[in-house]
Amino acid sequence: MRNPRLVITILLLAMAEVMLSFAARQATPDATLQAQLKRVFPGATSFSAKQPGPPPHFVAYSGDPSSKTIAGYVFWTTEAEPLERGYDGPIKMLVGMDTKGILTGVLVTEHREPYGYFSVEPPKFAQQFKNKDIRDPFKVGADVDAVSTATITINSSTRAIRNGARRVARAFLTPPGTTK
């Protein structure tokens, strides 16, 4: 290079740019998370910080934020059911569940599934779990829609939601009446 000073300046600027963009992304994770929590649990007025568990979870509160009335729980499937993996790693989903064991919403946030773009990405997939009772069978092809040619992805994500919700329920919920 003819002008080393120019090259160094450009390099330094590029580094600064990269750092700034990182900082910008770091600055708002909480706002993003709050929006995501609200989406899977629209009925809640506020959420706790992440609780260690196990399994790790967020508590959803209803009514006046100061009253701390527990409305339900929100959890990441990757934390409640970490061993579940799809085609290439875990499918990261945020799941909300009320105190009766009814799912309030599911949000797919990250995945590395080759056929994810037409199986778990369309909102249709997450929507079918809303108002679903965790005592339902969660059988793909029966009460969960099957997507032909994306079996591994759909099966894995369904198992993650079901088993994660059941693990959280067993840890924190009181079984509704012992009606058995």
């Binding site: 290439d88 790693g89 590395r112 080759p114 994306a150 894995s156 088993n163 059941r166 693990r167």
Partner: protein, 329 residues
């Protein structure tokens, strides 16, 4: 016979299989929450199918039985056709590959599997037995015989080979040997670039632009379909264009096939004879040598070896016998 140190190859194969077996054996036993006790017998939740969480292997197996049986049937067909060197069975296998593995199952070996391999992020074993059967069959056959997968199991490769059968040979353009031998290396470059891209960005969506296997799922954007159409039109003129020059999975299996244990045998006459070299549609025969990484075990040359009317080995033997018989009488 050209088979450089079969003992070394066999040893390598055993080591590979043992590693695979060990990892698979360990995998299901890892638990994330060892401190969490198993559900108590008087679990008040009474989930309808709670036993699924401690599901026995036989139940898991039962759920996947049909898929597994169909796959075993397909592999049996493949191997029978391969061992009998039957051309008819090979075409039947390829037809089944397109219809069953392609459009019905749509789960081929893809570069995404290679991505997953770089992080050992594979699907849960007990829930995806069919996928493991498929992957292990592919690796094992490649190590034992070569790129059998590319030649007759891959649905896309089967489709282009069937296409080549239908297309009039007048349209076909044979690439000059020297260019072909260079172009063979493009796929290794593409494999390296794609895997590096994945390691750096962790973005798998690149697979859509380096391989066309998504076509069997029938879900794609217009741009992807246009790209595929261009590729298929080019394949009409240059046979198996994608498999020979571009496929990253083929490149990966090509690297693996350097270990091939049971290679195609060569006669001493092969040093001068060019029949097989001219017949090979994959450009895998160069003089007396068969390049393992390009060979897909299509059987074309092996059928020639067996042909006592065409192969010089047998013709020379016959001539000698006749001469010997003449001398006796």
């Amino acid at each position: 016979m050209i088979s450089s140190s079969p003992v070394r190859h066999a040893r390598l194969l055993i080591v590979m299989l043992l590693t695979l077996a060990c990892t698979l054996a360990i995998q299901p036993r890892v638990h994330a929450f060892p401190q969490e006790a198993a559900p108590k017998a008087d679990d008040p939740w009474n989930f309808a199918d709670e036993e699924e969480e401690v599901q026995t292997w036989s139940q898991d197996l039962k759920n996947q039985a049909i898929d597994l049986a169909a796959l075993v049937g397909f592999f049996t067909l493949t191997l029978v056709g391969f061992f009998k060197k039957s051309e008819r069975l090979k075409w039947i296998t390829m037809g089944a590959a397109v219809v069953y593995l392609g459009f019905a199952r749509s789960q081929l070996i893809t570069v995404v599997n290679i991505f997953a391999l770089t992080e050992w992020n594979l699907p849960v074993f007990r829930h995806n037995l069919a996928w493991y059967l498929f992957a292990i069959f592919t690796v094992v056959t490649t190590v034992l015989w070569g790129r059998l997968y590319c030649g007759r199991i891959c649905a896309f490769g089967s489709m282009t080979q069937l296409l080549d059968k239908v297309v009039p040979s007048k349209l076909r353009f044979e690439i000059p040997r020297r260019i072909e031998q260079r172009a063979n290396y493009i796929k290794y470059g593409l494999l390296t670039a794609t895997v590096l891209y994945f390691i750096v960005t962790k973005d798998i969506s690149i697979y859509r632009y380096v391989e066309p296997f998504w076509m069997f799922s029938l879900n794609a954007s217009t741009g992807m379909w246009v790209g595929l159409a261009v590729l298929l039109v080019a394949t009409i003129f240059v046979r198996n264009l994608y498999c020979r020059f571009l496929c990253p999975v083929g490149a990966f299996l090509g690297l693996l096939s350097n270990l091939t244990v049971f290679r195609i045998k060569r006669w001493s006459e092969c040093n001068s004879c060019k029949i097989c070299e001219k017949t090979c549609e994959w450009g895998a025969i160069r003089g007396p040598k068969i390049v393992a990484s390009e060979c897909v075990r299509c059987d074309d040359c092996e059928r020639l070896y067996m042909d006592t009317e065409k192969c010089p080995h047998w013709l020379i033997l016959k001539r000698k016998e006749r001469a010997a018989a003449a001398r006796v009488t």
